[in-house]
């Protein structure tokens, strides 16, 4: 479970996130929606411990800890930067990050096989990642996030570049993880995907929460038929022709 309270962050005196509070419970997929520059990525980066908030608190698994390393032990994340090492194979990439997380050799070998199988990476697992397609890179980066079976999973646009069968199997995987009690925070611009997958949605605009609830609740709140219309209505975004 992830609980953030009054989280704030500014860059060069320009507020990017202001007094943001929400809770992402275990066994739930929480969608994070917002236009470009709304503060979603900054929020995810603060939760992951790569950026220090100016104010506010972040509690992961009920442990309200200012210690970023402690949070990082409890979180697996796939953020917008998903570079992988091109001179290492998929397995070597995964092994490197597993070792950094202190996983034992046996557990690491077991988890690498599991992740390779889940993401359908068998055919390329022993290839150096140089020249990989966007989808193959995304799958490798996703494997890195899932490797240590995190209780909390943060995903930023995880279906970018994935083919349709992989998107479907990813959705199924996320549902299985949710059903087994994992807390998932899912940021995406694809509203259909958010509607199909997320149990609750937090809409952010200008670094603040403008609405939260289930997709159906948001539609009712905005008195619209679709989540897209509700998003535009609630954020006050301009409609394009």
């Amino acid at each position: 479970m992830i609980t953030i309270q009054k989280l704030a962050k500014s860059f060069d005196a320009r507020p990017v996130v202001g007094d943001l509070s929400f809770e992402a419970p275990d066994g739930t997929i929480t969608g994070l929606l917002g236009a470009n520059g709304a503060g979603k990525t900054t929020t995810l980066r603060m939760i992951c411990g790569v950026l220090q908030p100016d104010r506010g608190s972040i509690a992961v698994d009920d442990a309200a800890s200012g210690d970023a390393l402690d949070r990082q032990r409890r979180i697996g994340a796939l953020l917008d930067h998903m570079g992988i090492y091109s001179r290492l194979t998929v397995r070597e990439n995964l092994a490197y990050f597993g070792r950094l997380r202190g996983m034992s050799a046996e557990l690491l070998a077991e988890r690498i096989e599991a992740v390779v199988s889940i993401l359908g990476l068998e055919a390329i697992a022993d290839r150096k990642t140089h020249g990989f397609s966007q989808g193959e890179r995304m799958k490798t980066a996703l494997g890195r996030a899932l490797l240590h079976s995190p209780q909390n999973l943060l995903l930023d646009e995880p279906t970018n570049g994935l083919d349709i069968p992989t998107i479907r199997s990813l959705r199924e995987l996320l549902r299985r993880l949710r059903d087994s009690g994992t807390c998932i925070v899912y940021s995406s611009h694809v509203l259909d995907e958010v509607r199909a997958l997320c149990d609750q949605v937090v809409i952010i605009a200008g670094g603040r929460i403008v609405a939260e609830g289930s997709p159906q609740e948001l539609c009712s709140q905005a008195e619209t038929a679709s989540l897209e219309e509700a998003f535009i209505e609630l954020t006050g975004a301009t409609r394009s022709n």
């Binding site: 860059f11 980066r45 992951c48 411990g49 790569v50 950026l51 220090q52 390393l69 402690d70 990082q72 032990r73 979180i75 994340a77 953020l79 930067h81 998903m82 570079g83 992988i84 090492y85 091109s86 001179r87 290492l88 490197y96 990050f97 070792r99 950094l100 997380r101 202190g102 980066a141 890195r144």
Partner: protein, 260 residues
């Protein structure tokens, strides 16, 4: 395994697989012995033995100092500035590893390549001085203490290069600065060759300057006391650690994530 060692091991494997960079570093390291070999052939017939030895030793000292800086340059460039550019630094920082351990691991890897550059350079000089029958004594009795006296230098070079890589926004920027830094040992070396009066006692304890003076002294058979190389080694490593801490502090900043 300690996270810093895990990072160092990965960086070394990654660096060794970059065959073009390894070859470039090898050429750099062997450039000094090649040039000095050519100069020794050109001066053999018309130079006095003492002046030939002085010129060749002076040149060797400069090239050897430079080799400590070029051996790890490509890896230093790639390991922070390159990672930022390829967007793999953020995924690394998502792991429960302190920034100090990240910097320490990368520093160990850069030091490994810098040290390798130095060793190749010294071995190259040993071959050249022996094969070219110069008047410079290149037996193990001189080269081994000379190399030992230089041991701390690759660690300092790695620290400086890592700091530069950390403050740079991309590989090109890092390459520009790091190429300029290679001129530092060259400039100091040339200054000391052409201005022997600048060699004061305290110069023996200045990192970079001290190593050059010690190397020249050892290679010309003057020798130094044991105290000087040990004190210089400690001062050099101390300076390397201070610079490393600055780099680790730099890695804590938000710009590291947003700087691209």
């Amino acid at each position: 395994m300690n996270p810093a060692l895990t990072i160092a091991r990965k960086e070394i494997v990654d660096g060794l697989r970059d065959v073009r960079s390894v070859m470039a570093s090898l050429f750099y390291a062997l450039m000094g012995p090649a040039v000095v070999g050519l100069v020794s052939m050109a001066t053999r017939s018309n130079a006095k033995p003492e002046s030939e030895a002085a010129v060749l030793t002076g040149m060797m000292a400069i090239f050897t100092l430079v080799s400590a800086f070029v051996g790890g340059m490509n890896v230093a460039m790639d390991t922070v500035a390159g990672e930022r550019e390829r967007r793999s630094l953020l995924p690394l920082l998502l792991n429960p590893v302190s920034r100090r351990n990240v910097v320490l691991g990368k520093w160990l890897a850069v030091s490994f390549f810098a040290l390798a550059g130095l060793v190749v350079d010294v071995l190259g000089f040993a071959v050249v001085f022996t094969a070219a029958s110069t008047h410079v004594s290149a037996g193990p009795g001189r080269l081994v203490p000379a190399a030992l006296g230089l041991l701390s230098l690759p660690f300092l070079a790695a620290s400086v290069q890592l700091l530069v890589s950390t403050v740079s926004r991309g590989v090109k920027e890092a390459q520009t600065y790091l190429s300029l830094i290679v001129f530092l040992p060259m400039a100091i070396g040339m200054f000391l060759v052409f201005s022997p009066a600048a060699k004061r006692v305290w110069c023996n304890f200045l990192p970079l300057v001290g190593q050059q003076l010690q190397l020249e002294a050892l290679m010309t058979g003057r020798g130094t006391s044991l105290f000087e190389p040990i004190a210089l080694g400690c001062l050099t490593v101390g300076l390397a650690i201070v610079i490393l801490l600055v780099a680790a502090n730099r890695l804590q900043r938000d710009e590291i994530i947003y700087g691209n």
